[in-house]
């Protein structure tokens, strides 16, 4: 009986067996890439909002302090998204006929909230607290990026757990003096690690506790 398979088939089968290992590896690598891509994390994607609010204009060019709108950032887990009333403090005086601002005026008139799109959206099993970060010297920029340069707001970082842990494992590399927290343009000194270690001591940041699961998950 003649051979069914040509001898070269051996080569094919060897290649495909070894190739399968690489193929699976490549698949996993691809999955990991997708999982970290901005398609999944939405990092770097500017989001459409009912009103095209520009942080660049308000926080950057006009220099309004973060806390004028995000009032509870130092006191509560939520930084707080301003009520329509805060917008109307100014916009009852300026740009009162702007069609772009009609949803704001409509909200104020009808007493119905503006439905903003959530840009920084953590999973429901994560409990993040703004106030403790701000009080311990984590700058707004450290997580939110140069928000004062964004027209439409986007999420600067992946907000994935590995990203959180970068800082929770090595907080000394990211801390800044408390008075610089809201400063968008503060640049870390060359010996950030030395400053960071001093601040850890000064602000009583305990390293061991930062990586406990229950610090964020409960």
């Amino acid at each position: 009986m003649p051979q069914v398979f040509h001898p070269s088939t051996n080569t094919f089968s060897r290649v495909s067996i070894f190739g399968a290992v690489f193929f699976i590896g490549a698949m996993l690598w691809g999955l990991a890439l997708i999982n970290r891509s901005s398609y999944v994390t939405r990092a770097g994607v500017a989001r459409e909002q009912p009103v095209p609010f520009s942080h660049r204009h308000h926080a950057g060019q006009l220099g309004i302090d973060c806390r004028y709108c995000h009032t509870s950032v130092e006191r509560s887990s939520y930084a707080g998204v301003p009520p329509t009333k805060t917008c109307m403090n100014c916009h009852s005086q300026i740009w009162i006929d702007s069609p772009t601002l009609e949803p704001v005026r409509a909200s104020f008139r009808t007493n119905r909230s503006i439905q903003w799109i959530k840009v920084h959206d953590l999973p429901d099993f994560v409990y993040f607290n703004h106030s403790i970060h701000v009080n311990k010297g984590v700058g707004c920029v450290s997580c939110h990026g140069r928000i004062d340069l964004m027209n439409l707001t986007w999420q600067e970082n992946s907000l994935q757990m590995e990203w959180c842990l970068n800082c929770h494992r090595h907080p000394e590399q990211y801390l800044r003096p408390r008075e610089q927290v809201f400063n968008m343009t503060w640049t870390p000194p060359t010996d950030q690690t030395t400053l960071g270690r001093e601040l850890l001591q000064q602000y009583d940041v305990r390293g061991t506790h930062l990586t406990d699961c229950s610090t964020c998950h409960r």
Binding site: L31, S76, P82, T84, I117, D121, D124, H209, H217, R218
Partner: protein, 1013 residues
């Protein structure tokens, strides 16, 4: 999975119940007695099944998650199984890549001043039950009330609450609450109701309202009283009736017989050294029970150095209660015999009353009790239960007077109720008028008389004769079905009102949320009868208080009162009374005592759903009853001896024939129950309770008559041969006779304070293969539970459920051991079957330093924190259940199905936003309320200080009226928890396993009278 092929029906929930029902009776009480007689020393047992070592029990014990294979609907072969597993593995990996759905932020338009998103606010108000208000603080997250706490400054609460108050938030958000005003089934606006009622009243005006009747529950509200007074001024011939099934007629009648006037009796357990409870469950129910628990347990604290005296409690009771479980001496007697004991003790104390007969067997017990009471004149209390007839109350008053207790431990005061009424008589009068056609308009403000009126007071048929009937209620219940109008009642957390505590302290109740379903308060419905029908309850209450206060700084008074939660010094003052002589008592003798043929039937409010009003509350339905550990059902409770005589066993259905009526009920054998008596709990068997409550148990009101509301003789019990499965948590997670509850008498303890530690050997710190310990340099959290204080009230279980978003699973799942409570209260018996000692032991997660659960988790979903918490990470958990298998304490709970309700809109408002709502397939357990720890830590860190002792209060600790649970930092040697753990009574559960639990217990101390032994 076991390899046995199993039929399909066996795998379904119904199959499981059917199978349970088909079990033959296997309880052999004679064997049990023999076994008990053969044991030496202190033998603890949890249930009769355990003692009998029945097959069922063994099976339950060996299968930690019984019937776990029942999730499979059909048999699956190996090939299919691998296919399924392969597919689910692939899908599980992919699911990690899902994107977050787009979510919205919905800020306020105009933000209220005090609200900081993420920071809860607390408001003081009160929750009434049986007319008696208990002060509470309610946590509100951006306008949604989520959790009730006690008001620490309120005299009746002192920071504690009971399980009913804890569960009230679930009732508030209950989707089954009535949501619209209806007139004979048609939805109508409020204005139509106002028009209808005012038209009817016009016809009444000429006759002075002779056809107008108002039926309420017990009223203590000063504002409502004023409104009723005004109504009667406008309609002088109108009548006001009061009725609720758990009434205090006996207390009222007893006081009238003794003092000739209406007097409330309050007790000062903080001054009492010897207490005799005559069928009185003062630690579990009734006005002031939270305060009584605090005062009573404070007199039982013993510690190593101090040689303080400890109080001694004698309980004579028919049906076992939590008070009986706390007693140092307990005498089970039929309810009708309690009066005899009271007479015997009174005789011993020198009160000349007719002497009883038939107590010869207990003569020594009674004589010792009398001597003990006489040695503590002015420092003793004799308290009669609400269920005992007026004679017993009168005898108790006489005895307290003879002992010089009145004015010291027993305070007589002006009554708290607006008009103390004999409510059964009041309802009877109303029904007589209704039947005679004298009633034209009947307003039923709260209550459910169609369901809970005595069986021989024919309320239902009389109702049909009234031309216009109106029912105000939380649900469209049995009464609403038969009334012309139904008005949704505003929940107390939605209402402006006022009410008085057991001592008379007044609280002005404020709403936490606007009525969800446009509910009305009793104030608003009564206002319809006045000339200003559109007044809101806020205006009515405020105007009343403005007029009553009179001063010109009313605004300050109003704000301060709302803020504090009560009006300072508004308790009703003590009153000088003279007790009438004993001769008048004998005339009172109730008719039931003379007739003692056959078995005796005892009616009691249900320990968890009370008179039936909480029937649709899943938390309370699923709460295991303190002593029977039954859920979702009531049962005919009887003593082992009686069951033996009648050849009955657990879950046998019997026919109870009493006073010409019959009722079918399943049997539950209750160790310690009085012989020849059967206890049935009221409140079950509802037909229109809602989706949760309809159909649970049997309706015991069907047997209850007006003359014998609490007990009566002449009961006949007949076995039917049917079986009804009951879902008890009794023998789940049994710990098989290890020294779990440790008990000594006061004398033994004084001689040998270390007894508890020596009962079990604790290996050295290094004798372990577990990885080296964490250093725990900062906080090290720990908990101490004092078994000497715990009265087994179950409030901690519901508090935990409310705080931690714990799901309800239903009767079928409880029967399979799938209940989700993070904290359970185990009940152990010791000694004799007929009158055992009863112990309660709350068991949360032990947070072991050498935690067996952690080392077996393949995905690191349960890990140790740097502060010693045993963290549970839901998002990592893949549901292997290895942790639970390896947990020696059986405190882990698995979400076998999607138990949490993720879809009902109103229940979304109920959740604590600081705790994850768990999904199917993950393990969960007690976290030591880690959300509260985080909150306190962040506050402390922001302020740059350490967390103070007492700053972190767990939900179970906060609710406990006995202060039995203490939580804190054990590294801080001055903390309360560290001091308790340094007590000689402190011991760890299963310490021989060297798990080093952070939760430890303080042994129970009993204080028996040496004369009785």
């Amino acid at each position: 999975m076991n390899g046995k092929p199993a039929s399909q029906s066996e795998h379904t929930a119904a199959g499981a119940l059917q199978r349970a029902a088909a079990r033959p009776p296997r309880l052999d009480l004679a064997t049990i007695r023999q076994r008990l007689a053969g044991t030496t020393g202190q033998a603890y047992w949890r249930s009769l099944e355990e003692l009998a070592q029945t097959d069922d029990f063994q099976w339950f014990l060996e299968n930690e998650f019984p019937r776990q294979a029942s999730g499979w609907i059909s048999a699956v072969d190996r090939r299919q199984f691998l296919q399924l597993m392969g597919a689910s593995l692939a899908l599980a990996g992919l699911s990690a890549c899902t994107r977050q759905p787009t979510e919205n932020i919905v800020p306020y338009v105009r933000q209220p001043e005090q609200i900081v998103p993420g920071q809860p606010l607390f408001f003081a108000t009160a929750l009434p039950l049986g007319g008696i208000a208990s002060g509470v603080l309610v946590e509100s997250h951006m306008g949604r009330p989520t959790k009730v706490e006690g008001n620490p400054d309120h005299p009746a609460s002192l920071g504690a609450t009971d399980s009913f108050a804890q569960a009230s938030v679930l009732t508030l958000y209950d989707p089954d609450r009535s949501q619209v005003i209806t007139n004979v089934g048609e939805i109508r606006p409020w204005s139509a109701f106002v028009a209808a009622i005012r038209a009817a009243l016009e016809g009444q005006r000429e006759q002075g309202g002779a056809g107008l009747r108002v039926l309420t529950e017990t009223v203590t509200s000063p504002t409502l009283a004023e409104q009723l007074r005004q109504t009667r001024a406008a309609f002088p011939a109108a009548q006001w009736h009061q009725y609720e099934p758990v009434h205090r007629d006996n207390v009222v009648a007893g006081a009238r017989a003794s003092f000739g006037e209406d007097v409330d009796t309050r007790y000062r357990f903080d001054h009492a050294d010897v207490i005799l409870a005559l069928d009185a469950d003062f630690l579990a129910c009734g006005p002031g029970h939270l305060r009584y628990v605090r005062d009573f347990t404070a007199k039982r604290r013993v510690s190593g150095e101090r040689n303080e005296p400890m109080n001694r409690l004698y309980a004579v009771e028919s049906t076992p209660t939590n008070t009986g479980a706390m007693a140092d001496h307990r005498l089970p007697l039929r309810a009708s015999q309690i009066e005899d004991v009271a007479r015997a003790v009174a005789g011993g104390l020198g009160v000349s009353v007719q002497a009883p007969t038939g107590l010869e067997a207990h003569a020594k017990w009674i004589a010792a009790l009398v001597r003990d009471l006489q040695q503590h004149r002015g420092a003793s209390i004799i308290i009669a239960g609400d269920e005992q007839p007026a004679t017993v109350h009168a005898l108790a008053h006489l005895m307290n007077d003879a002992l010089g207790n009145v004015g010291r431990t027993v305070v007589c005061a002006e009554p708290v109720a607006v008009t103390p009424t004999l409510q059964t008589q009041s309802l009877r009068d109303l029904v007589a008028d209704m039947q005679a056609g004298k009633v034209a308009v009947l307003l039923i403000l709260g209550g459910n008389p169609v369901f809970d009126a005595p069986a021989d007071v024919l309320f239902t048929s009389a109702l049909a004769k009234v031309p216009l009937t109106v029912h105000l209620g939380l649900y469209t219940d049995e009464t609403s079905q038969l009334c012309h109008w139904h008005i949704p009642l505003a929940h107390p957390l939605e209402s402006w009102s006022d009410g008085r505590a057991y001592d008379g302290t007044i609280t002005i109740m404020q709403p936490l949320i606007a009525p969800l379903y446009d509910g009305k308060t009793a104030h608003e419905v009564l206002a319809v009868l006045s000339d200003r029908p559109e007044r809101t309850s806020h205006d009515i209450v405020r105007d009343y208080w403005k007029a009553r206060y009179g001063g010109n700084d009313f605004e300050r008074f109003w704000r301060k009162t709302l803020h504090d939660g009560f009006i300072a010094d508004s308790a009703s003052p003590a009153k000088q009374v003279t007790v009438r002589p004993a001769a008048s008592i004998d005339a009172l003798r109730s008719s039931t005592t003379s007739d003692r043929k056959g078995l005796e039937i005892i009616f009691r409010p249900d320990p968890t759903i009370f008179d039936g009003r909480f029937a649709n509350n899943g938390w309370l339905q699923e709460l295991p009853k303190a002593l029977t550990r039954l859920t979702w059902d009531n049962a005919a409770l009887l003593s082992p001896a009686t069951a033996e005589r009648l050849a009955l066993t657990n879950e046998d259905v019997v026919e109870l024939a009493y006073a010409g009526r019959t009722l079918r009920a399943p049997v539950w054998i209750m160790p310690g129950h009085a012989p020849d008596a059967v206890t049935v709990h009221l409140g079950h068997g509802r037909t229109h309770a809602g989706r949760v409550g309809s159909g649970s148990g049997f309706n015991a009101y069907a047997l209850r008559t007006a003359d014998a509301p609490w007990f009566g003789s002449g009961l006949d019990v007949r076995k039917t041969g049917d079986r009804h499965p009951l879902a008890s948590t009794q023998h789940h997670h049994s710990m098989e006779g290890r020294p779990l509850v440790r008990v000594a008498t006061l004398e033994e303890y004084r001689g040998h304070p270390d007894f508890a530690r020596e009962l079990e050997e604790t290996p050295g710190r290094d004798d372990t293969l577990y990885p080296a310990e964490h250093p725990y340099q900062g906080n090290a959290w720990g908990m101490a539970i004092d078994l000497n204080s715990c009265v087994g009230c179950n409030a901690c279980v519901i508090a935990c459920q409310a705080e931690n978003n714990i799901a309800v699973v239903g009767k079928t799942e409880v029967a399979r051991g799938h209940e989700m409570h993070w904290l359970r209260v185990d009940r152990y018996y010791a000694g004799d079957l007929d009158n055992p000692e009863t112990y309660h032991q709350p068991v949360p997660c032990m947070h072991c330093e050498n935690a067996p659960c952690e080392i077996v988790c393949p995905v690191g979903a349960t890990v140790h924190s740097s502060e010693g918490l045993n963290d549970m990470v839901y998002n990592r958990c893949v549901g292997t259940k290895y942790c639970s298998n390896n947990c020696p304490y059986k405190v882990r709970r698995f979400n076998w199905f999607l138990f949490s309700d993720w879809t009902t809109e109103s229940l979304k408002l109920l959740r604590n936003p600081d705790v994850t709502v768990r999904s199917r397939g993950v393990m969960e357990k007690c976290t030591y309320c880690v959300q509260r720890i985080s909150h306190a830590r962040i506050d402390a860190q922001k302020a740059g200080r350490p967390i103070r002792d007492g700053e972190v209060v767990t939900a179970c600790q906060q609710v406990c009226p006995a202060e039995a649970i203490v939580f804190g930092n054990i590294n801080d040697k001055s903390s309360r928890v560290a001091q308790l753990k340094a007590e000689p009574r402190n011991y760890g559960l299963l310490s021989s396993l060297n798990t080093r639990p952070r939760t430890t217990y303080l042994a129970r101390i009993r204080n028996p009278n040496p004369e009785i032994g």
